[in-house]
């Protein structure tokens, strides 16, 4: 019987983890006892052993002070360490109680727990872990400016111009009511780029679209640095933080799944 009834990649042989084993919970070394006790201990552990999978807190691809002065180290320490770390811990705690969900990759877990709009309790934590991983990688020190090559062409095709896209993205960030995220996605069905707003923890994976960039508009993302000035935060993100390198890499990968144009077949 498959341990993970919900995830297609689940198997009862080895639990899949997307991250390294949580160092705080690494199993302790067994003490060497006399032969008999050791055998009993082995048998007892073998019968009662429960394999647990953990998700780990992935570090951003830069030091926590690397985004200064646009995103302070204090914000990153709080946002990554406390908020993002908190979601990881909460998710691990939930999964420890419900092993039907083991064996999933994080993306599968998000889609399964979204449950078509009626989310299970694990959804919030799973999705927020994924969203924040994506967010740190969507930024870089010395970010900003604009994309080049194929992604720029696609943006110009779908939004008219890069300036227009930028305006629409910032506008979406300001018009979002409550907590949520703003995304640049590649829509799988419609085969074009779009700007999407989501509430709380929802992300475009649940609609099977491919995210290219995101911006965290939860207040905790900007309040320490910008107080209530959402406009300044969104502009600073576009001007100084956004990583078009990451976006272009994701776009290149996305094109393996979505046919964006007619293939150029050379005429003999």
């Amino acid at each position: 019987m498959s341990r993970s009834a919900f995830c297609s990649s689940g198997s009862n042989l080895v639990p899949k983890t997307t991250e390294a084993l949580n160092p705080l919970n690494r199993p302790k070394k067994h003490h060497y006892l006399n032969g008999r006790q050791r055998t009993n201990l082995y048998q007892k552990n073998h019968r009662a052993s429960k394999v647990l999978a953990y998700y780990g807190l992935r570090s951003p691809p830069y030091k926590l002070d690397a985004l200064e002065p646009y995103m302070s180290q204090r914000t990153l320490e709080m946002h990554w360490g406390e908020h993002h770390g908190g979601y990881v811990d909460a998710l691990n705690k939930q999964l420890a109680k419900n092993d039907l969900l083991y064996g999933c990759t994080l993306e599968e877990l998000i889609k399964v727990t979204y449950n078509n709009g009626n989310p299970l309790p694990e959804f919030n934590n799973a999705a927020q872990v994924w969203n924040h991983d994506f967010f740190w990688e969507s930024m870089q020190p010395g970010g900003g400016s604009s994309p080049i090559l194929g992604l720029l062409q696609q943006i110009e095709k779908d939004f008219g111009s890069f300036t227009n896209f930028r305006e629409k993205f910032i506008d979406a960030a300001l018009k979002l009511f409550g907590s949520g995220w703003v995304w640049l996605v590649l829509k799988r069905e419609e085969k074009h780029l779009a700007i999407v707003k989501t509430s709380n923890a929802v992300n475009p994976l649940v609609w099977n679209d491919i995210p290219i960039l995101n911006l965290d508009m939860w207040e905790h993302a900007y309040y320490l640095d910008y107080k209530n000035d959402k406009a300044k935060y969104a502009n600073v993100f576009m001007n100084h933080l956004v990583s078009w390198n990451a976006a272009m890499a994701r776009m290149a990968r996305a094109q393996a799944f979505v046919n964006l144009g007619e293939p150029k077949i050379p005429v003999a």
Partner: protein
């Protein structure tokens, strides 16, 4: 006649509010706080109170008025799609104005009675329905801490069933969205802007401390008015 010639648009300038009042459109203004920004410390810092009142609440009022003016225009032009499209902005900004107006009255400095437990019929109703004030506080704190994203946690009165309820609403939805007969007695803002600068991500601490400045007198007054 003379009055009309005096009261020309040119003479009065392009005052939007005046024009709106001529048309009969009600505009909303930011209510004053009945206490200083620093008077609620240390439960809520003066910095948060000032930002919360002068920036956040003011923005809701401004955008509410803007949305209402656009709605008025759209109604007069018979532009149904715009009328419908504006509903979410009205709900959000109007809700924000309503909720925060109640919130300022729900708080009081300690020396003006903040934190004093409710007496009279509300105190009795709380004990009757929740067991004790502590139980009510615990329930509201649990619901408030568990709320995902932004929203409010309310102690409300169902004025038809004459019963107290604890409810949460998302974003700036007012309590009536959970039931048209619900009257808000007490609302606690659990948007991050309400506590982040002081409590960072530890929402439970904010919830624990805010009870020291809750103005039960206001809640009692509303309760006694609805349930004489």
């Amino acid at each position: 006649m003379a009055l009309r010639t005096l009261v020309t648009r040119k003479a009065l300038g392009n005052s939007v509010a005046f024009r709106q009042q001529l048309r009969g459109l009600q505009t909303y203004t930011l209510p004053d706080l009945p206490y200083d920004y620093g008077a609620i410390e240390p439960a809520i810092s003066g910095e948060i109170m000032q930002l919360h009142h002068q920036k956040h609440h003011q923005t809701y009022v401004t955008n509410f008025n803007k949305a209402l003016e656009q709605l008025d225009d759209a109604i007069n032009k018979g532009d149904a799609p715009t009328v419908v499209k504006l509903q979410s902005a009205i709900k959000f900004n109007g809700g924000g104005h309503i909720n925060h107006s109640i919130f300022w009255k729900n708080l009081a400095p300690i020396r003006e009675g903040g934190g004093e437990p409710p007496k009279g019929s509300l105190g009795w109703a709380i004990d009757n329905h929740f067991g004790s004030l502590e139980a009510l506080v615990q329930k509201m704190n649990a619901d408030g801490a568990g709320l995902q994203g932004s929203g409010w946690v309310w102690l409300g009165l169902d004025k038809e069933l004459k019963r107290l309820v604890v409810e949460t609403t998302a974003n700036q939805d007012p309590l009536v969205t959970k039931g048209s007969s619900l009257v808000p007695l007490l609302g606690i803002d659990v948007w991050e802007h309400a506590y982040y600068l002081q409590y960072k991500n530890v929402r439970p601490d904010y919830l624990k401390n805010i009870w020291k400045v809750i103005n039960w007198k206001y809640a009692s007054d509303i309760y006694e008015k609805e349930c004489p």
